[in-house]
């Protein structure tokens, strides 16, 4: 045994980077290949994934508007991210917000250095080009505001959606991403994460940054934009559930890039995150329709599709920190909780979150962030240097930090969204006119129809 331990120590010593190596990060082609694949997978989640998921859920006079919002955000947020977003989120080591280090891709893309040739900067903490990191994070910047669109679908002006997404992306998303992933006040183990910030949050792929922030902002948007005309007395059933189910399947596939890609390397943590993601989605897809079956007598396709998404949302913050069985528990819990939230809580409180962006992302994300504090284990990622992580293995600090990060994210998203939406309401207005709403956003906002047969 002692011999084995010695051997292990020698191997460890040999594997440990020297100071010189640590200063000069090198490119790993395997990591880069996986990360570029993940970038594409995450983008695939917005269109076609989310576009079809949401597109099928609206009435047929609004299908173009939803698809248009998704495609527009792919362009708009991509450009914004390249120009300022990435720098605001990941520049420098400030506690609250990034800096101008990477503005307009400075220090990110390849440069020509006279006498030395072409050089592409490698991310100092990773084995991939900074450009790959920037691209990957940029895909999150696209899908997060797209998730919010589900709350105000069928009634918000296109211009207001564009203005809100730009302002929200820069004013809410970028600071949050910086706090959690850019070394700010909520980053796990960061020197800034002291005092009330409780040592920082574990947020593997965006429980707080993506899902709580978008879900809570979605609720604020649904309340400030107001109910759709005729809600809840007129029936507003989804116009194409086949779209929705196909979209859910695409989201499931794309989510592997979202979560397993968040390992930022093609390593064991990526495999673990991939597995946890898959099993949580599976459990959600079973749990939600099972509740319906027992409660209303029929399991529905919309329930199975929504349950899969709820499971995916819930496991997102935990993906790289939990093993498979807790992942199944988390997915199933999300399926049940989100089902009741959409079916009972929403009608009781009377808000019109058209496509349940809050019910699924806001609540699913909150549940996931809290449960991460319960189930996170060193076995998957020893991020705490051997210290126990979740409640289940005896740690309590992580759980407290998860609650604090969740509360801070809720408050910040609510305040930020209220300010931005009020600002837009007073200037260009949030909502289309009554007649435009009746004929649908497709014709009134875009002059197009989704279905022209013959």
């Amino acid at each position: 045994m002692a011999q084995e331990a010695e051997e292990a120590a020698r191997v460890e010593e040999a594997a440990a980077p020297t100071a010189e190596e640590a200063e000069a990060p090198t490119l790993d082609r395997g990591d880069n290949a996986w990360m570029l694949t993940s970038c594409a997978l995450v983008l695939f989640m917005t269109t076609p994934g989310l576009a079809m998921f949401y597109g099928g859920l609206v009435r047929k006079q609004n299908v173009v508007s939803v698809l248009m919002q998704c495609i527009t955000l792919m362009g708009l947020m991509a450009v914004l991210w390249a120009m300022v977003g990435y720098s605001l989120a990941f520049g420098g080591s400030n506690a609250l917000i990034g800096n101008g280090d990477f503005l307009f891709m400075k220090g990110v893309e390849a440069t020509w250095i006279e006498g030395q040739g072409s050089e592409i900067p490698i991310h100092p903490d990773l084995s991939i080009p900074r450009l790959t990191h920037m691209l990957f994070q940029g895909m999150f910047f696209i899908i997060t505001p797209a998730l919010i669109c589900g709350a105000f679908a069928e009634r918000m002006k296109f211009s207001a959606m564009v203005a809100f997404s730009v302002l929200w992306g820069l004013g809410v998303y970028c600071p949050l991403a910086h706090w959690v992933w850019g070394g700010g006040i909520l980053a796990f183990g960061s020197s800034h994460a002291t005092g009330i910030f409780s040592g920082g949050a574990l947020d593997f792929a965006g429980g707080t940054v993506v899902h709580i922030s978008s879900g809570v902002s979605a609720l604020v948007a649904a309340l400030l934009v107001g109910k759709r005309m005729g809600y809840p007395t007129q029936p507003m059933p989804p116009h194409n559930l086949a779209f929705t189910a196909l979209g859910a399947g695409m989201l499931w596939v794309g989510w592997f890039g979202f979560n397993a890609g968040s390992a930022l390397a093609a390593d064991g943590i990526a495999s673990s995150a991939f597995a946890a993601t898959h099993f949580s989605a599976g459990a959600g897809a079973v749990a939600w329709p099972l509740v319906e079956w027992l409660w209303r007598g029929k399991p529905t396709l919309l329930g199975a599709s929504s349950g899969a998404v709820a499971g995916l949302v819930c496991i997102t913050p935990a993906a790289g920190f939990v093993t498979c069985m807790p992942a199944i528990f988390m997915g199933a819990t999300a399926g049940v909780v989100c089902c009741f939230a959409c079916a009972l809580l929403k009608p009781k409180l009377g808000y019109d979150d058209s496509l349940d962006a809050f019910g699924v992302h806001g609540l699913g994300g909150t549940l996931g962030a809290i449960l991460t504090g319960v189930f996170a284990t060193r076995a998957v990622w020893d991020i705490g240097g051997g210290e126990p992580l979740g409640l289940i293995e005896g740690g309590t600090e992580v759980f407290k930090a998860q609650v604090v990060a969740t509360v801070i994210t809720w408050v910040f998203a609510v305040v930020g969204s209220v300010v931005l939406l009020k600002l837009i309401d007073f200037t260009i207005g949030l909502r289309v006119g009554e007649e435009d709403e009746v004929i649908g956003l497709d014709v009134s906002q875009h002059g197009e129809e989704g279905y022209i047969f013959g």
Binding site: P237, T300, G303, A343
Partner: protein, 112 residues
């Protein structure tokens, strides 16, 4: 002459057609219709929101027959379209004043 309008279930349309052909009747008009009778519609649930769908899809078969064969045709349709479950449909029989075959200009029984 009688006009017989039968509102039946979709999956019974072939059985009704075969019954009429067996009775020697040739010609009918079939329309997709929606409506409800005593059983009302059905309920659909989307994420917990319940919608009552009032209008159930059915098919309407219209046939025109001589007074002498009308009863036979009606009982043929009943036999073919019956399942015994609620929602089997209805048959309406009315007096028909006249009929015209456009190609030849024939009227009355000859036109049918």
């Amino acid at each position: 002459m009688k006009k017989i309008e039968a509102i039946v279930r979709h999956h019974k349309i072939d059985a009704v057609k075969e019954a009429l052909v067996r009775l020697g009747h040739h010609g009918m008009t079939v329309t997709e219709v929606r409506g409800f009778g005593r059983q009302k519609g059905h309920t659909e649930t989307y994420r917990g929101a319940e919608y009552v769908v009032d209008f159930v899809p059915k098919v309407k078969i219209e046939v025109v027959a001589d007074d002498s064969t009308a009863d036979q045709i009606v009982s043929g349709i009943v036999a073919a379209a019956k399942t015994g479950q609620i929602g089997d449909g209805k048959i309406f029989i009315s007096e028909l004043k006249d009929a015209v075959r456009i190609r030849t200009g024939e009227t009355g029984g000859a036109a049918v």
